[in-house]
Amino acid sequence: MEAFIRGVGNISPQYTYNNAFFLEEVVPHYSIRLLSREPDYKEYINPIQLRRMSRALKMGVTAAGICLRDAEVGTPDAIITATGLGMMEDSEKFLTSILDKGERLVNPTSFIQSIHNTVGAYIAVMLKCNKYNFTYVHNFLSFESALTDTLMRLEERPSERILVGGIEGLAEEYFKITDSVGFWKKEQVESLKLLRYDSPGTIAGEGVAFFLLTKRPDPGNYALIRGVRAIYKPGDPKDIQEKIDPFLDKNKLEVRDLDLVLLGLNGDAEHDGIYHWLQENYFQENSQAYFKHLCGEHYVASSFALWLAAKVLKHQRIPQVIVLKDKGTPGKSIRNILIYNQNKNITHSLMLVSSC
């Protein structure tokens, strides 16, 4: 199962929404709360609708629009979205209104917009797209599920062009509550130095990354997605390694063929050990990079990583800000990137991306 990335649209805590650029300017965040650098939404959404939309919804609809423009596709053949928490801002708003007003005279707008498939549905209405429309909501595996579904459909319908994306908006109350129970770091954090803090917790992030996937070869394609795999509750890191080997083998690759390994390190002293073990015992000969200092930790951070991999392959350039270890030969082309992400050794995921 494989497909080309034909277009991308990414709104994140970096200036990623303009596809003409690729992290030439990096935004440092001096906070444990990384919010998106948002574009001018009026270009994509009419102002009357805009007023009623949550940030996640605005980011979602706009990133999808950027992606479709990038791919020069009017209406896709399917819309598949992924989100861990869904439309949390509207959920909080509706819940607060029920609790504060004692269930009396509540306004249904935030209830309607709180459902998890809101972004996919909005895009469908805006584009009059009557096709397949799915939403996956499995925490850190949400985006990987959406991608699996996309690749399966493209196997069956090779002429289709599918819009797939991950959406996560960091809502106010959710952040405060999770902060109070120790999800995030306690000290003053400078995001770009994320891996230097030897403390538990990480930094909260958000973002939306959409992709237009197709089986059609085209000079404008970014990259080829060759596989995606999720792993649930494996044993020790050795067990993970034993699952990565056959994943690569299926694509006739060995670990040494990887020109870059993109790791989901998030600076959590209690849980980054798995990455460290693999870095030292499995990926030791590979160039290594990370990305959560740019986008923060969130349920669909792996969609940011896929965007990063697609851009690296298209531009044939690894931005210095993500490099952990450079084993590359100057002048040698970058062909194969493995994205490996995990959360607390519960969910793990792999994505293999190659140049076209």
């Binding site: 209830f111 309607i112 998890h116 799915f134 499995h138 399966m152």
Partner: protein, 398 residues
């Protein structure tokens, strides 16, 4: 199609029964589960009837052996009960390494039943914060997977009221593409203040038992429950008793409005059409339609129009079983899939309770009483949701 998908087991819990046997008895006797609210703490208790599972969380936990019931959401408890029944029914043993086993579960509320009780305390920095991690939709899926030992593939779907029909679709796709051999596919949703007030604010809750497809329908009644099917590949089902085949499925989007359907029922029409095309069956081969039939003004009219567009002039028996089970939201697609399979395997069509007068724009009445049929070969089940999400499943006798 790259191989057939078989159903080898199911499990169900709802207001009309704690398991498949009780559910079938209630269906046969037209025993509705709709009544006054007893468990949910809400000001709407006296006013809005619902289809509650008449067991406390403690009692649900006792059925499963989950000891820490206070730490478990009602959505998870309901899910574990139905999933366990389905696995037992199919003789599903995830530890059998000959086959890969996955779970695809759906929910719309996730752990909201606990969040809404504790939200204000969380904001005050309350130290008892266990339920923060049970809020998101994947929590119930992982608890069920852990309970049954399923490891090879897990995911959760949330597309409003079509969610668990979509679990069945995704589960079947995973088998067709060889990602797993067997899938536990379905959904679970508990009642919550959040959804009750949401639907109430939308003015689509009937203050009396709902009357789908009736001219004077006044809205829906919310319900709760869980249901799962065990789907298997030809290879893994080869030595098993097969209940039926999942012959077709379709998903389309109405692309009209977040909560209202298009006047011509375009999404429902497209999802039924796609499912029929995939099944290779003509409309005349469908012996029974288990309609989405919520009892709202909008749904029943547009679903009816879409049914007519495909099936007229020979419209098969149609009924909504929501006057029995209530609208179980994220579980509804799977609940009604189980009911559809019961219709197939028991050769009977279940009535659409509370119907009196035909909708003037439509040319058919729904089924009014329990109807035994010589043969029910193919059953079509519709599930439609907010966001214009429309799904259709077709189950066929083997």
């Amino acid at each position: 199609m790259r191989g057939r998908i078989f159903v080898t087991g199911f499990g169900i819990i709802s207001a009309i029964g704690r398991n498949a046997r009780e559910t079938l008895e209630s269906l046969r006797d037209s025993r509705s589960g709709i009544g006054p609210i007893t468990h949910l703490d809400t000001i709407h208790k006296a006013e809005l009837p619902v289809a509650e599972v008449k067991l406390s969380n403690k009692e649900l936990a006792e059925m499963t052996g989950v000891t820490e019931y206070q730490l478990t959401t009602r959505t998870t408890l309901l899910g574990v009960i139905a999933a366990r029944e389905a696995a037992r029914h199919a003789g599903l043993d995830p530890s059998d390494k000959q086959f890969l086993t996955g779970i695809v579960s759906a929910t719309t509320v996730g752990g909201m039943d606990k969040t809404e009780i504790n939200f204000k305390n969380y904001q005050k920095g309350w130290p008892y914060n266990h339920f923060i991690s049970t809020h998101d939709c994947s929590d119930s899926t992982e608890k069920i997977a852990d309970y049954l030992g399923i490891r090879d593939y897990l995911t959760t779907i949330s597309t409003a009221c079509s969610s668990s029909a979509n679990s069945v679709i995704h589960g079947a796709q995973l088998i067709r593409h060889g990602i797993v051999d067997r899938v536990l596919a379905g959904g679970t949703d508990s009642l919550s203040k959040f959804t009750l007030n949401g639907f109430h604010a939308l003015l689509i809750l009937d203050k009396n038992p709902c009357k789908p497809f009736d001219k004077d329908r006044m809205g829906l009644n919310l319900g709760e429950g869980a249901a799962y099917l065990v789907l298997e590949s030809e290879r893994s089902a080869s030595e098993k008793k097969v209940l039926c085949e999942l012959k077709g499925y379709g998903n389309a989007n109405d692309a009209y409005h977040q909560t209202g359907s298009s006047p011509e029922g375009l999404g429902p029409y497209l999802s039924m059409k796609e499912a029929l095309e995939m099944s290779g069956l003509g409309p005349e081969a469908i012996d029974y339609i288990n309609a989405h039939g919520t009892g709202t003004d909008n749904n029943d009219l547009t679903e009816g129009i879409a049914i007519e567009k495909i099936f007229a002039p020979h419209i098969p028996p149609v009924s909504s079983t929501k006057p029995l089970t209530g609208h179980t939201l994220g579980a509804a697609g799977a609940v009604e899939a189980v009911i559809s399979i019961m219709a197939l395997t028991h050769g009977m069509v279940f009535p659409n309770l509370n119907f009196r007068t035909r909708i003037p724009e439509l040319s058919f009445d729904p089924v009014k009483e329990l109807t035994k049929m010589n043969k029910v070969r193919n059953v079509l089940s519709n599930s439609f949701g907010f966001g214009g999400n429309d799904s259709t499943l077709i189950f066929s006798a083997c």
